[in-house]
């Protein structure tokens, strides 16, 4: 009798355990998946326009949108065009071109890069990714560097 009772107890107990665990899982799993943000279909951007060459003075820069990432386009004092990722490799702030020092500078924590993107001072651990720049007539075309 005791044995029977024990068996029944453990049977009920196991049902309860499985049921509770299962229910818990079937509630928590959807919630967890729900909280993971859905992947936004990223439109494959292969190149963007950086505007007209005549609109860019020597020794100036602008931030251009490449898909959904910022790119810094610099026209050096010698007239050369350079394009690099504008996301600082430290903590993702958007960098700028500091004319006075001729370097790319990140205002958040004073990180500095040279005009080839190499990190030369401050906390950034890695260089900035380069982009290709070419001219189509007067228009500046920025594309990914393969």
């Amino acid at each position: 009798m005791n044995n029977n009772l024990q068996n029944r107890r453990s049977f009920i107990g196991s049902i309860l355990t499985i049921g509770l665990a299962g229910l818990g899982g079937s509630i928590l799993y959807p919630i967890f998946r729900y909280l993971v943000p859905p992947k936004q279909r990223e439109v494959e951007v292969s190149n963007v326009s950086g505007g007209k060459l005549k609109d860019m003075e020597n020794d100036s820069y602008k931030i251009v949108r490449f898909g959904n990432k910022p790119v810094i386009l610099i026209r050096t004092d010698k007239g050369e065009l350079k394009a690099l990722s504008a996301q600082c490799t430290h903590l993702d702030c958007t960098v700028q071109y500091k004319k006075s020092e001729g370097v790319i500078w990140c205002a958040c924590h004073n990180g500095k890069y040279d005009l080839n993107g190499r990190n030369i001072s401050g906390p950034p651990p890695r260089p900035l990714d380069p982009y290709n720049v070419k001219l189509k007539g007067d228009e500046i075309i920025i594309s990914r560097k393969v």
Binding site: R33, Y34, P37, P38
Partner: protein, 359 residues
């Protein structure tokens, strides 16, 4: 495992005196009688509220409360977010079932006369909770910013504007302007996710504490019966487990409804489009809406609409103050008249809802 649990219990008990609490819970009993079944509906209503809070918070992660983005954000939830359709459909269904359950709970308490002394305050807090539930429904309905909701809100706030003296100010306050616009949406969003939950939770806690302190009310007849000892069952674990069982059934129903009847979205609101054909308010407002339709536009010198509002206002007030004018029940005397009144009210509500639905 058990050892760890008991260790944790001891640690907390040291600091919070859990033992006296557990003694109180162990001693709590629930009377068993013919009408015991109605005891469950308070808990079921609470369960729905918890579901609404949880699904509501989840929806908040993706919902955007501005007129340009609201509709699209819900489209996003329904189609792109994993299980978004499930969370939203549960939220929509639970809202309706919540209101239904609150109706049942309120009326069962009424018919049992549980509002009588010493539980008058419990009744009042309960009726306030009921009104708040309706406000939740009204404010939440606008949030998808679709055509039906837009016009429903227009009509509803228009009716509010007919309240004597304060009507215009009330309408402007609700709408955030003269018309239903994005400003209205922002307000209703604020009402629905911040103001009402705050007030509701506060009153709910008071309501629950009072229920716990005073114990379950028993029917008037059993007050008199002294010969047969009242059957009771311990609240913990018996009643609570039964409660859980019912909650599981309710959860099941919700899941099935959500999968087979997912929440609809309709078309985005357009202030300059005509109202959709056959538009009517949600079912829980239908009986009032239909009644207003039957009141003639002008009765003597009174505007039909104002008369209707005053009528319902008065009814609401009387309902709120039931414990104070049903003195018989407070004395423990059976009051058949209250039952008839209640039955009439239920019949009125049901019949007018049906009329409103089919017209």
């Amino acid at each position: 495992m058990k050892k760890h649990l008991s260790k944790t219990y001891k640690w907390l008990d040291d600091r919070l005196d859990l033992t006296s609490l557990s003694h109180f819970i162990e001693k709590k009993t629930v009377p068993i009688h013919r009408s015991s079944i109605w005891y469950y509906f308070g808990g079921v209503s609470l369960f729905f509220f918890i579901i609404q809070v949880c699904t509501g918070i989840l929806l908040l992660f993706y919902y955007k409360g501005s007129a340009d983005l609201a509709f699209e954000s819900i489209q996003f939830i329904m189609s792109k977010v994993e299980f978004g359709w499930l969370i939203r459909s549960i939220h929509a269904w639970a809202a309706n079932l919540f209101i239904l359950s609150v109706f049942i709970h309120m009326f069962s308490v009424y018919f049992e006369k549980s509002y009588r002394r010493p539980r008058e305050l419990t009744w009042i807090s309960g009726v306030l909770l009921f009104f708040l539930t309706l406000f939740f429904g009204f404010s939440g309905y606008l949030l998808p910013w679709n055509k039906l909701a837009f016009f429903a809100t227009k009509v509803g706030t228009d009716i509010a504007g007919n309240v004597p003296i304060i009507g215009e100010a009330l309408k402007g306050f609700l709408r955030g302007g003269d018309d239903v616009t994005g400003a209205t949406l922002s307000r209703f969003f604020g009402f629905h996710v911040a103001l009402f939950p705050g007030i509701f939770t506060t009153i709910l806690v008071i309501h629950l504490i009072m229920v716990q302190r005073q114990g379950m009310s028993e029917p008037i007849e059993s007050d008199k019966e002294t010969t047969v000892k009242n059957k009771t069952m311990p609240f913990f674990p018996n009643f609570m487990l039964r409660d859980m069982l019912l909650w599981l059934v309710v959860l099941n129903v919700l899941a099935i409804l959500a999968v087979f009847f997912p929440a609809e979205l309709g078309e985005k609101a357009d202030a300059f489009a005509s109202a959709p054909a056959g538009i009517k308010p949600e079912w829980y407002f239908l009986f009032m809406f239909q009644t207003l339709k039957y009141i003639p536009a002008k009765l003597f010198v009174f505007d039909g609409e104002i008369l209707g509002i005053l009528l319902f206002g008065l009814a609401g007030l009387l309902w709120l103050l039931v414990p104070f004018w049903d003195t018989k029940s407070s004395k423990g005397i059976r009051n058949r008249k209250m039952n008839y009144l209640g039955l009439a009210a239920v019949a009125f509500i049901i019949i007018l809802t049906i009329l409103g639905w089919v017209s």
